[in-house]
């Protein structure tokens, strides 16, 4: 990937820095992202994580109850099965509590989840531009690079907006009260959105038109999210 495009990508480490949480395809911190149910790959990853968590709880719960049960004289050869079923029930209850806790915590991260989806879309656009660049580089290709500068400018504005929005969300999440910087960040996003709208108006219908439109959609979506935050 070309350096200019690569620089526009929002990397996991940058996300971690601006959100204060470790972000993966399925997790934001310890909370599952709502998008885990939208793609098979992510859903499988979610299932694997859940299985491993349940396995870990079983590894601690079953043998520990075996040791305690024998130590207290509750466990004998005649009541092994009911004892094991009780221990299994405790393990499943702990697993349910863990999931309930993460679900409860996830309720407070809805805005972040939405912003992270927009970041994914932004990175997907960069991938698309990269593919177009590669196809354009092939000799006798019919795909022509019409105005690369404009699309990079649009992506740069989107990137800045996304990072600003993520920072705002982090500030609001951490402090939950009015911060002076919020208005500044909000104004910045508004400016970037105006830039995107101008670019969109100037751009003729071509392979970049669609990408610019997607970038504009991300910008609009960000504004909506921030307006929601502003009302909170």
């Amino acid at each position: 990937m070309q350096t200019d495009l690569n620089e526009l990508r929002i990397t996991p480490s940058q996300l971690e820095k601006v959100t204060g949480l470790e972000v993966t395809d399925i997790l934001m911190g310890k909370v599952y992202r709502p998008t885990v149910f939208r793609s098979t790959k992510r859903f499988l990853s979610f299932l694997l994580t859940e299985t491993l968590t349940l396995g870990l709880i079983l590894i601690f719960c079953l043998p520990l109850s075996l040791v305690i049960g024998r130590g207290l004289g509750i466990l004998t050869t005649s009541n092994t099965v009911p004892f094991l079923l009780t221990a299994l029930g405790i393990a499943i209850a702990l697993f349910a509590i863990w999931n309930g806790w993460t679900w409860q915590k996830g309720k407070g991260l809805k805005t972040l989840a939405h912003l992270l989806d927009e970041v994914d879309k932004h990175n997907e656009i960069i991938d698309a531009v990269h593919i177009i660049d590669e196809l354009g580089a092939i000799q006798n290709s019919t795909i022509q690079v019409i105005d690369r500068e404009e699309i990079l400018k649009a992506l740069s504005a989107t990137r800045e907006s996304l990072l600003n929005a993520l920072m705002t969300e982090k500030v609001l999440r951490k402090h939950q009260q009015f911060m002076a910087r919020r208005q500044e960040l909000f104004a910045n996003i508004e400016t970037n959105l105006a830039t995107l709208q101008t670019l969109q108006a100037n751009q003729q219908a071509n392979e970049y038109g669609q990408l610019l439109n997607e970038a504009l959609q991300i910008g609009m979506s960000l504004r909506q999210e921030l307006e929601k935050l502003d009302r909170q």
Partner: protein
């Protein structure tokens, strides 16, 4: 899988991993990853040794083996943490948990690497006592390696800790000059602090050695309580056995039987 990537980073670049522990960098994430990765490896090896006595024993051993290591760690960890902070360690409980998890992770990886050999003997040699002693030897060897790793980690971090407490590293010439301008009391105090720090370091080293013995004792007793891991040949599946004797006497008894002295 990111969990296994954490374990690989520990094995590949120990120095950086230890440095990250010292800086308390992503400690919680590392604990989670090492817990999962080591549980998977230990469960796999447990399933192999249990496979010698049927599928029920296989499931039972796959749960019991990781539990043996992880519960032993949970039981012994507070002793190490509280005694160490008593003697001047500045590390947090999470950092200690990660340090001891390193040893379990190394043991799990080594056991997993022995899995093909164990599987080969399981299929080719139908001698219960031989299989038992072979595994005792493997467990002892991997355990020693894990302990060595933990010892190294603790020593490395302990060496860095007091160095960090000093404001800057001075060249010998600079030290002399610096000492010229220090009041006598300050010099004496600094020497006292250095001596005290070195004494604490020595105490923590001895404490770690004592803890490792304790860890071994708790582990072997818990293993004895949780047995059977292998399942006796020709006998029906047992989830647990009556607690009689201890781990060491049983190892000697098996050895004598194998050598035909019994």
């Amino acid at each position: 899988m990111r969990h296994f990537a954490t374990l690989i980073s520990l094995l590949r670049d120990r120095k950086q991993f230890f440095d990250e522990i010292r800086r308390d960098y992503k400690t919680e994430k590392k604990i989670g990853s090492l817990l999962i990765a080591s549980s998977v490896f230990l469960a796999s090896y447990g399933a192999i040794i249990g496979a010698s006595s049927g599928w029920l024993q296989m499931i039972s051993s796959a749960i019991k083996l990781p539990a043996l290591y992880l519960i032993t760690l949970t039981i012994c960890l507070p002793t190490l943490y509280f005694f160490d902070i008593l003697f001047g360690s500045a590390l947090s409980f999470g950092q200690y948990a990660l340090l001891v998890l390193i040893s379990v992770s190394v043991i799990s990886v080594l056991l997993f690497s022995f899995a093909p050999i164990t599987l080969f003997f399981l299929i080719s040699v139908h001698d219960y006592n031989f299989f038992l002693l072979l595994n005792v030897a493997i467990f002892a060897f991997t355990g020693l390696m894990g302990i060595k790793f933990l010892y190294q980690a603790m020593q490395t971090i302990d060496r860095i800790e007091p160095a960090e407490a000093q404001p800057a590293v001075l060249e010998p010439a600079e030290i002399d000059t610096a000492n010229d301008f220090l009041p006598v009391d300050a010099l004496a105090n600094r020497e006292k602090t250095l001596t005290s720090s070195s004494n604490n370091q020595q105490t923590r080293k001895r404490l770690l050695q004592f803890w490792l013995v304790l860890y071994g004792l708790v582990g072997s007793q818990l293993g004895w309580t949780l047995r059977p891991f292998f399942g006796a040949p020709g006998e029906p599946f047992q989830l647990f056995r009556n607690i009689e004797g201890n781990f060491y006497s049983q190892v000697f008894r098996t050895l004598f039987t194998l050598l035909g002295w019994n």
